[in-house]
């Protein structure tokens, strides 16, 4: 398939692996992939399996579903239970548990919760159901924010009053800064988020190299993008450089998407602070609707509990997300906290760092540690 297969070529992977092995022979390196989409690619294609054992990937806070705090999810579920409300959301948000179950559970209890692919679908549902209130659960980083912004502008232009947005958009830079400010930081560089950078461009990352001395390589989402991103970081370190580089030039422009940024500014403004699951409160890290969009603001339109629900005490997700500890170093990992009975956000989503270790990582770990031979050599099966 065009635009996919060429980024998964085995021969290119092997070449890059050789270079990465050469550059990482001297010591261990910890790199954080910021974006949940990268984590997904890493697991889907078994990339950790291909990298030399001296390279550790730390799965960062860039999964928009994982960082929504329980309290906000409880608010969403409360809105969904309002009589006459059609509550719309992206698919993978349906499963994330609040303190009293997920949106999927809310639907089982009678709430009208529907999953959609674009906020414009929610607008369409609002037009088709003029007597009902249609609420869009807006989540995500700068990647998804412009589409919410455009939907709001359309709703205003049409005078559509039975549509509103429950805004939970977050911004990536403050989260990266919170991680960089962690005193026991163990990171050597960042695989920067490709899709977020499509919108915000390269400039917002400059402080990472300038003030913290860590290289950033913005990378795409195919296996070769990520492997090449890792190679580019290692090359910077090897050459004694520390820069913001763009591996994903086929999509990301240095200045970002100016039109996207403009519609975001027109419809939304920074919140003074926002809670992140696992990371706690981070100042100026999320967006809310501007006052002129109050008629479309679900937080003003509906009564929500607005309660903060603390992350469980035993949970060390924050340290895992910052790369301070490995998932298996957490004191509840594997005992109180398993994928069936998750305590923290990292175990909730199958892409969360801990769930990934629990489900997928243990074989390569065990193999490294005990020289267990996995009879998985290619070539014996398939025709």
């Amino acid at each position: 398939m065009k635009f996919v297969d060429e980024y998964r070529r085995n021969d290119l992977v092997r070449n890059l692996r050789g270079e990465i092995e050469r550059l990482s022979a001297s010591r261990r390196f910890n790199f954080m992939e910021v974006c949940g989409g990268h984590t997904h690619t890493i697991y889907k294609h078994g990339i950790e399996d291909i990298l030399p054992p001296t390279i550790d990937l730390v799965h960062g806070p860039g999964c928009p579903v994982c960082v929504i705090p329980m309290g906000r999810l409880d608010d969403a579920i409360a809105i969904a239970h309002h009589p006459g409300v059609i509550f719309t959301t992206f698919g993978d948000m349906m499963r994330v548990p609040g303190s009293q179950g997920s949106l999927l559970d809310a639907r089982a209890r009678g709430a009208d919760v529907r999953f959609i692919y674009s906020p414009l679908d929610a607008l369409k549902i609002a037009r088709e159901n003029p007597r009902q209130e249609v609420v869009f659960f807006a989540i995500g980083f700068e990647t998804t924010t412009p589409s919410t912004a455009i939907t709001l502008l359309l709703a205003r232009a049409e005078g559509l009053r039975n549509f509103s947005v429950f805004c939970n958009h977050v911004t990536i830079i403050p989260a990266m800064k919170a991680i960089l400010d962690s005193p026991d930081l163990r990171l050597d560089g960042f695989i920067g988020p490709g899709h977020v950078s499509t919108i915000i461009g390269l400039r917002p990352y400059e402080f990472v190299a300038r003030d913290y001395g860590k290289p950033v390589v913005i990378s795409g989402f195919e296996p070769i993008d990520i492997i090449q991103g890792i190679y580019m970081i290692l090359k910077q370190i090897d050459e004694g450089r520390c820069d913001i580089e763009n591996q994903y030039g086929r999509v990301v422009r240095p200045e970002g998407n100016l039109k996207g940024l403009e519609v975001m500014r027109e419809t939304m403004m920074l919140r003074p602070y926002f809670e992140w699951r696992g990371l706690g409160f981070i100042s100026q890290s999320a967006l809310k609707l501007r006052p002129e969009f109050a008629p479309w603001d679900a937080e003003l339109k509906f009564e929500v509990p607005g309660l903060q629900v603390a992350d469980p005490k035993a949970c060390q997700c924050g340290e895992v997300l910052k790369g301070v500890i490995k998932p298996w170093e957490c004191r509840v990992f594997g005992t109180a906290c398993t994928p069936e009975t998750p305590i923290g956000t990292c175990m909730v989503s199958s892409e969360g760092a801990c769930a990934a270790y629990f489900n997928y990582g243990r074989f390569s770990l065990a193999a490294q540690r005990r020289q267990v031979h996995l009879n998985l050599d290619p070539g014996t099966g398939g025709s």
């Binding site: 992977v13 294609h45 078994g46 209890r109 298996w328 004191r331 594997g334």
Partner: protein
């Protein structure tokens, strides 16, 4: 409380302990039924193993095959009967390549086929919603009839019920089927052995994507049609050529990933697949890339997975490819001894990953 990080060995030991305790066991922890319980993945197994199977438990049911196999005569000297039932609630009722009627016939025939049975007769029960158009019902009835005729099986009994508007979505169908097993030996998901090979008769994911496209109005221009088909003659051709086949299965809800996990858990073996060997049509691959779902977890209605001894590979492929529904048959992986109860995928770039059962519905990812 002072924090003492656990070591890697301690962590691995804990994971192993949890895995041993839960291996092959499913627990029902939920208070209400959600859509996940119907998706064919983990939640459904929790429901079946934790409540339904546990309550009804008996030697025939406990085999958990797609069709129950009942010995006729004290020792089965008069042959064996295969018996199965399935309900159909697909929405929309008509989709590219099929409709609820064809699905209801094919699904039940295929459950008999995976037991190695020759289908004898079917039942059809209809649950109709008040207000359903008679024209629509007539189309579904015609479709049931033509699908049964094409497969050479008669519908010999049935039932109709009508429920209040809103109590059903237009119409639901239940079919049951009986078949006779003439061959010796028992095909079972408990019979895979290390060294066996895993074969499939063609590309995966067509049915699920075709229905999703018809249902969600995604505005993707795709030429994908459901693969719904009766598999009994294909299964018979394979079993004639390879009587020593261990297991046949049709990867419906939950897709290939869930089907192979069931075999791995029940047989206490590992299964290693080669990603590049698994056929997926370019259209389905494209749709999955866009939607962020895995073609290996998507439902099929005309696919047959066979686990066979390695020595029979050539005979099995020849038999499958000699049948119109098996032209694209191929070997996709092999059964390994350890680690038991797991399915692995050798990815196209040369990595390895665990291929888990579907958890919940295949929901599109945003990130």
């Amino acid at each position: 409380m002072t924090f003492k990080p656990q070591t890697l060995d301690e962590a691995l030991e804990k994971i192993e302990k949890v895995r041993r305790i839960r291996q092959g066991k499913f627990y029902l922890r939920d208070d209400t039924i959600t859509m996940s319980h119907g998706s064919g993945g983990k939640a459904m197994h929790n429901l079946i193993d934790g409540l339904i199977g546990a309550t009804f438990s008996n030697p025939i049911l406990d085999r958990l095959d797609d069709a129950a196999v009942i010995p006729l005569g004290d020792q089965g000297q008069n042959g064996r009967l295969a018996f199965t039932t399935d309900s159909y609630v697909v929405s929309p009722l008509f989709f590219p390549g099929g409709d609820i009627g064809r699905l209801a016939i094919h699904g039940t025939i295929n459950d008999l086929a995976t037991a190695g049975a020759e289908p004898l007769a079917l039942s059809v029960a209809l649950i109709l919603e008040e207000g359903l158009s008679m024209d629509l019902l007539r189309r579904v009835i015609d479709s049931l009839k033509s699908a049964a005729d094409e497969a050479g099986v008669s519908i010999v009994t049935g039932d109709t019920k009508v429920v209040d508007r809103g109590s059903a979505d237009q119409l639901f169908i239940n079919t049951a089927g009986v078949g006779l097993i003439h061959r010796p030996g028992h095909l079972s998901t408990f019979h895979a052995r290390s060294g066996d090979l895993v074969l499939i008769n063609g590309p995966v994911g067509d049915h699920g994507i075709a229905v999703m496209m018809a249902r969600e109005a995604l505005e993707l221009e795709l030429d994908v049609v459901s693969d719904t088909a009766p598999l009994h003659s294909l299964a018979a051709a394979l079993l004639d050529a390879v009587p020593e086949a261990r297991c046949l299965k049709d990867p419906t809800r939950g897709g290939l990933a869930t089907c192979l996990n069931e075999i791995a858990i029940n047989s206490e073996v590992g299964i290693a697949l080669t990603e590049t060997a698994i056929p997926v049509s370019p259209q389905v691959r494209g749709a999955c890339e866009i939607l962020g779902i895995d073609p290996l977890t998507i439902a099929n209605e005309g696919k047959l997975v066979a686990v066979i001894p390695a020595a029979a590979e050539a005979a099995a492929l020849a038999a499958l490819r000699g049948h119109p529904l098996g032209r694209q048959a191929c070997t996709i992986g092999e059964v390994i001894g350890e680690p038991a109860g797991m399915v692995f995928l050798r990815t196209e770039i040369g990595g390895t990953r665990v291929l888990d059962m579907l958890v919940g519905d295949p929901l599109p990812r945003i990130c």
